[in-house]
């Protein structure tokens, strides 16, 4: 569908409405802005001892030669804006190295944002001092202002002289200032929404059925979107949507990448990459389907950030000598998105990759079927103009253009060490992935994070909420990458370990009872972990416990004990992380008035809303941040030790102080468990309780350990006075 293709490929409205997708595969030499013809140079004005190159509706000015490369700046007038771009000239070859910047005025009028971008682009490319570039831009601006009339040739002249090829416009980079103030305010409001994830969810869902929409797939779509945002702002990744055929991989990839500057390609060969001259204009390369054997290709593998891009080697005929020569071209690092039905990926590729599993659960199928059978209803709503299906999607797409690149600082890096097992070398790459997700979340939420400037460099401080996003949303994806486990296995393993800790062994029957699934299901799961060496059948244990019959009795294989990333969420001291963030801001960005929030929005499936997901505001103090804490007898024993503080320091039984609910407690009553409710009801009554009298009161319903653990938690959260 050509219309969809165009819509999905570029973000922002190209200024030239005649722009066509097919026209963008142009080599650098075809661009008039990048072309420095020598014929006309003798008669034209001079700037910095070099002739000014005139192009239709614009000109190109020399800046300086630096390490053998000449740098020029090119300005061209468009329909109602000016487009500016740096050009580098190395020997006879000229090339551009960033997208054109569009602004209402030319270089003769100061535009702080555009000029800063220009300085940054060239500084990063060449290493020339920023101040020198800024001075040059000022000088060039004055020169253009004084000679505006002479610094252009009309398109008629061009046609007559045939000096310039007809230029096919690349879409210019939208400068935020080109958006009207009203629109800008509206878009910023979206980026300031604390529940922006919910807005994204709705935007991806509220689309006409024939354009593709996403329902469910919470983790997959958000992580892919995070990585696409990273791509826009300079953090590249490889993303593979993996799953069986016809379960919506392509749809998810299409809808999410459609929000960003994407180029769709069929394959990734050396030649295709080399001649794709528009790679500078896009952030994401979307390869529609990758076959199993293709993952072993170097091209795909070496596109990762670690490897610094890919060097394509192609054979070309030298016109002078008539001999064939090998020509090398460095393909810049791009974020790759691809889909695959392959079951096993090349391990080397897999470690560099975000393997995004697509939800193949029955619930998800039900959700999709329900939506599919609503297509006529939706179409009617669209025809009648009752619902503007694409509105949120388009707004989001525009809002993304307001996101700025920042250096993201993570105040709690050291604390993250705890999460990763040191006995698994893959953790090295996965730790990087976690950091990447934290940074991307911070970039998406940049209007809600602490921003500042250090030595002229714009910086952004990642929040505890970004870590929570990375773990909650990225956890299942990182786990899938690390272990190859699917969701069912990931959920079952901690339960198996828990059963082994409680009873010293696990059998099909005990697992079946705990999981509340069929015995066949439990048997399959145990079988998988036995095959993979995580547990093994132990006849001695079977004998010791007098277990009769054919039942297999499994115990843990210590060597392969698996440490789940998701389990670590309960072990993270979230309040400490938040404190670190606050201290970091105070120290590094002293003038900041930024207040670190204590809530984030966590997605939960809810069948009562159209997109089936709601995002609950959840406090850092809530149980949600402790849900993965080990339960069971061992955890309580540990909790008893922890609660020794409570017992010995403040509320020891000898010095039994009265307990009551703190008046300033911030309690989310929706998230209370039964014991918390029971304790709170006791504390709100007329009778006054101390620790010992409360233990006595509740001993029939709960164990002492459980009560002490809950009281410890409640005290930590500031609920008790």
């Amino acid at each position: 569908m050509p219309e969809e293709k165009v819509k999905g490929v570029f973000s922002g409205a190209p200024l030239n409405n005649n722009y066509q997708l097919e026209d963008k595969n142009l080599s650098d030499a075809n661009s008039a802005m990048a072309w420095l013809p020598e014929k006309i140079t003798q008669e034209k004005p001079v700037f910095k001892d070099k002739p000014v190159i005139l192009i239709p509706e614009g000109c190109t000015l020399f800046f300086k030669k630096h390490e053998g490369v000449e740098y020029w700046i090119s300005e061209k007038r468009g329909f109602n804006s000016y487009m500016v771009q740096w050009i580098e000239k190395k020997g006879p070859q000229t090339s551009k190295f960033h997208r054109k910047l569009s602004s209402r005025n030319g270089l003769d009028v100061e535009n702080k944002k555009r000029d800063q971008s220009l300085v940054k682009y060239l500084h990063n490319r060449s290493g020339i001092e920023k101040e020198e570039i800024a001075n040059y831009l000022e000088e060039a601006g004055v020169f253009i202002g004084e000679n505006r009339a002479e610094l252009t040739i009309s398109p008629i002249d061009v046609e007559d002289t045939h000096l310039f090829p007809v230029e096919k416009e690349d879409p210019p980079e939208e400068m935020p200032r080109e958006i009207s103030e009203k629109k800008r305010t509206q878009l910023i409001k979206i980026l300031e929404k604390p529940d922006i994830l919910s807005f994204i969810d709705q935007a991806l869902y509220e689309r006409t059925p024939d354009k593709g929409f996403i329902i469910g797939e919470v983790e997959s779509k958000h992580i892919l979107n995070f990585n696409c945002i990273g791509a826009r702002l300079g953090l590249s990744t490889i993303n593979t949507l993996k799953g069986g055929s016809s379960i919506g991989k392509t749809n998810t990839a299409n809808v999410v990448t459609g929000l960003h500057r994407t180029k769709k390609v069929g394959s990734l060969s050396d030649t295709a990459l080399k001649y794709a001259s528009d790679l500078d204009q896009i952030d994401i390369l979307y390869i529609q389907e990758t076959l199993e054997e293709e993952f072993k290709n170097k091209e795909t593998r070496l596109m990762s950030d670690d490897d610094g891009g890919f060097v394509a080697e192609t054979t070309v005929k030298n016109p002078d000598t008539g001999l064939f020569e090998v020509q090398k071209t460095t393909i810049p690092v791009k974020t790759l998105v691809t889909t695959t039905t392959a079951i096993e990926l090349d391990p080397e590729f897999a470690t560099r990759n975000f393997i995004i599993p697509v939800d193949d659960s029955e619930e998800q199928t039900k959700r999709i079927l329900e939506e599919n059978f609503r297509s006529t209803e939706k179409k009617l709503q669209e025809i009648r103009g009752e619902i503007d299906f694409n509105q949120k999607y388009e707004l989001l797409k525009e809002a993304y253009t307001l996101l700025e690149p920042y250096v993201v600082l993570i105040p709690y890096e050291k604390e993250l060490l705890e999460i990763f097992p040191t006995n698994n070398p893959r953790a090295r790459r996965d730790s990087k992935k976690l950091m990447q997700l934290i940074k991307e979340s911070a970039l998406l939420f940049q209007y809600q994070r602490c921003r500042g400037e250090l030595n002229g460099e714009p910086v952004l401080v990642a929040s505890w909420a970004d870590l929570a996003h990375a773990i909650l949303l990225g956890g299942p994806i990182l786990e899938a990458t690390l272990t190859g486990f699917d969701k069912r296995l990931l959920e079952a393993l901690p339960i198996i370990y828990e059963l082994i800790e409680e009873d010293d062994y696990v059998t099909t029957k005990s697992l079946q009872m705990r999981l509340k699934k069929s015995s066949k299901y439990a048997w399959q799961i145990l079988n998988f972990f036995e095959d993979n060496g995580y547990i093994y059948h132990d006849s001695d244990t079977k004998r010791e416990y007098g277990i009769k019959g054919k039942a297999k009795v499994y115990i843990k294989d210590g060597a392969r004990e698996y440490k789940s990333l998701l389990l670590s969420i309960g072990n993270i001291e979230w309040l400490d992380i938040k404190k670190k963030e606050e201290e970091f801001i105070k120290q590094q960005i002293p003038n900041s008035t930024h207040q670190v929030g204590s809530h984030l929005h966590i997605p939960v499936y809810d069948t009562t809303v159209p997109n089936k997901v709601v995002y609950h505001p959840t406090s850092i103090h809530s149980r949600e941040f402790k849900i993965y804490k080990k339960k069971g007898s061992k955890a309580f024993k540990k909790a008893k030790d922890d609660s020794e503080n409570l017992k010995s320091e403040k509320r020891n039984d000898e010095n039994d102080q009265p307990l009551k609910q703190a008046e300033d407690a911030d309690i989310n009553y929706k998230n209370l468990n039964l014991m918390e409710k029971t304790i709170l009801t006791a504390l709100t009554g007329i009778r006054k309780y101390t620790l010992s009298s409360l233990l006595e009161e509740l001993k029939e319903s709960f164990t002492e350990d459980e009560i002490r653990l809950t009281l410890g938690d409640m005290e930590e959260r500031g609920w008790l006075a």
């Binding site: 983790e219 956890g475 959920e491 009562t608 997901v613 849900i627 009554g685």
Partner: protein, 131 residues
């Protein structure tokens, strides 16, 4: 969401057809002006009772709720609690549906938050109590 494990149990909205419209109680009480401490006491007990009754095979009727509240509150007169339950249904904090089922509405949580806020404003934390 799968990755998050146990989630907040969402209040299930019942469709309007099943709802039994609340009747004016025989003994209306001024719920608005009831002391915040008493309100908190009743509402927390309500939350606890509903949680405790989950998974119980028998239908959750107002009569059973009164029984549970009385037991949990240490033997408060059932007749008195019946008045409160009738009034809470009337004020929309508890919903009653046709197959004899009781559910709590969002109002319970909002009211509890409002009470906390009110009590905080009335009695702000002392400086020495703060960490």
């Amino acid at each position: 969401m799968a990755g998050i494990g146990k989630q907040v149990k969402l209040h299930k909205f019942v469709s309007r057809e099943e709802l039994i419209p609340p009747e004016k109680p025989a003994h209306p009480i001024d719920w608005e002006n009831t002391s915040p401490q008493l309100k908190r006491f009743i509402l927390l007990h309500l939350l606890r009772a509903v949680d405790e009754y989950q998974g119980h095979p028998r239908k959750f009727t107002p009569h059973r709720l009164v029984d549970m509240l009385s037991q949990n509150m240490g033997g408060v007169l059932k007749a008195q609690l019946q008045i409160y339950v009738d009034n809470l249904i009337y004020h929309g904090l508890i919903q009653q549906t046709k197959p004899q089922k009781l559910t709590l509405t969002e109002k319970v949580y909002t009211e509890l938050q409002d009470i906390d806020k009110k009590l905080r404003e009335k009695d702000p934390p002392k400086k020495e109590d703060q960490p």
